[in-house]
């Protein structure tokens, strides 16, 4: 099995007339977390969306485990978990139902496993209530449960600690560290430092000039 590694080479992206990504390059290995920082409009979200394959860079390449992601996007997506700014949850379904459909499409998922992860993230009390009745922080926890359930080696996270209290932020740090310890990789766009030990952190700063 080829070594787990995400590599970006000379990425250039234009949005309309704006040259958003200007020759971005980096490599993340198994057990590492790349922290992307930069002001508003610097291109953090655009970079994450490009890495996930949703956006198409005008120049440059992205390789996963040695192969260009464009070669087999479906296989790449099966290995990758992307959580954008807003948790991708249907307001009219319960937390449990959301995860059942969202993750079930990716891999077979017994209800016990769903409930176990929801419990681990402190969502037991309200796992059978519709998402629209939950607070932003609670929704974020459900999304994190989904992230864990996806069981994907590569995590792409856009500001994962948004709307979480200090305890929640520490929880995110713990989850990422556990994921890295199991040989996973993470790329996160952040505003504040993640609560992760600096030994496993790589950094990338984007400027919005």
């Amino acid at each position: 099995m080829p070594e787990r590694r995400l590599q970006a080479e000379n990425l250039h992206l234009w949005r309309g007339d704006r040259h958003v990504l200007r020759g971005v390059r980096f490599a993340v290995n198994a057990g590492e977390c790349l922290q992307i920082t930069g002001g508003n409009g610097a291109g953090k979200t655009s970079l994450l969306r490009t890495l996930s394959g949703l956006m198409y860079p005008e120049e440059g390449s992205i390789t996963w485990c040695g192969g260009n992601i464009r070669r087999d996007m479906q296989a790449f997506h099966a290995d990758m978990a992307y959580i954008g700014h807003e948790p991708p949850l249907k307001p009219d379904l319960t937390a449990q139902e959301n995860l059942h459909y969202w993750i079930g499409v990716r891999r077979p998922l017994p209800i016990d496993e769903i409930n176990r992860e929801l419990g681990r993230l402190g969502c037991d009390q309200w796992r059978n209530r519709p998402i629209r009745t939950l607070s932003a922080g609670q929704k974020r926890r459900v999304a994190l449960a989904g992230l864990l359930l996806m069981a994907a080696p590569l995590w792409l996270l856009d500001e994962p600690t948004t709307n979480l209290d200090t305890e929640g932020q520490r929880l995110v740090g713990t989850l990422i560290e556990e994921h890295l310890a199991q040989g996973g990789l993470a790329v996160a766009a952040i505003h504040h430092e993640l609560a992760v030990s600096s030994a496993v952190i790589r950094r990338l700063e984007l400027s919005s000039k």
Partner: protein, 229 residues
């Protein structure tokens, strides 16, 4: 790498089940296109004449125009909600074929809007004076035709995802593409009303539906990906 993924069939089943469950939680919204269909069919007698003999002549056209317009209305909730809450993006990133998932969504959409329309059409037909013997033909033609309409509509719905207040534009895009369905469907209905064999236009409708099944989800998937770029 990913050896234990969900099978494509199971993924489609889950997507279909999800969409149906969601729609049933907002039953009020489901009724709207059907109510619209009923109202539009009422407009014609009011605008033409209460005489059933005259209405029977125009019944095929009336039924099909009303069906077309109400299926347009129903397209609102095919992709829009998913696009707004970020779950459409997750479909694209799920590792499953997007074409296949969108096909599953369109099937769910048809079950929720097209099939009820096929059930309502005979009632509207009776109100326009069609003979009872023709009701079977009406149900068959609307059932098959609405499959084609849902598929054609899914293309328009996907194309207008990034557009605000897209109702008029959606109509402008979808109606010309739906005209063949209207032509064959109305002809099948007309023949059924006359008591003649309506198989030929029904087969043509079926051919359109099959063509739609093969091509429409591909176009819709391309449009969805572009809207997420």
């Amino acid at each position: 790498m990913s050896s234990t993924g969900t099978s494509a069939l199971e993924a489609a089943r889950l997507t279909l089940a999800r969409d149906i469950r969601l729609a049933l939680r907002k039953r009020g919204q489901l009724i709207q296109p059907l109510a619209f269909f009923a109202i539009v069919t009422t407009l014609f007698p009011l605008g033409i004449s209460p005489e059933l003999s005259r209405l029977r002549d125009v019944a095929p056209g009336v039924l099909w125009v009303a069906a077309l317009l109400s299926s347009l209305l129903a397209l609102e909730f095919l992709f829009r909600d998913d696009a707004q809450d970020g779950t459409l993006e997750q479909h694209v990133l799920s590792g499953q074929s997007l074409t296949w998932l969108l096909f599953a969504k369109t099937v769910a959409h048809w079950l929720l809007t097209g099939l009820p329309l096929a059930v309502m059409a005979p009632l509207a037909g009776l109100s326009l004076g069609v003979p009872v013997a023709s009701l079977g033909g009406i149900v068959a033609s609307v059932a098959v035709g609405s499959v084609a309409l849902s598929l054609i509509g899914s293309i328009g719905a996907a194309l207008t995802l990034g557009v605000k207040r897209s109702g008029a534009l959606l109509s402008l895009l979808t109606l010309p593409l739906s005209m063949p369905v209207l032509i064959f469907g109305a002809r099948a209905t007309e023949l059924a009303i006359r008591g003649a064999g309506f198989a030929p236009p029904l087969y043509l409708l079926g051919a359109l539906a099959v063509l739609g099944i093969t091509l429409a989800p591909l176009a819709a998937a391309a449009a969805v990906r572009i809207s997420l770029e």
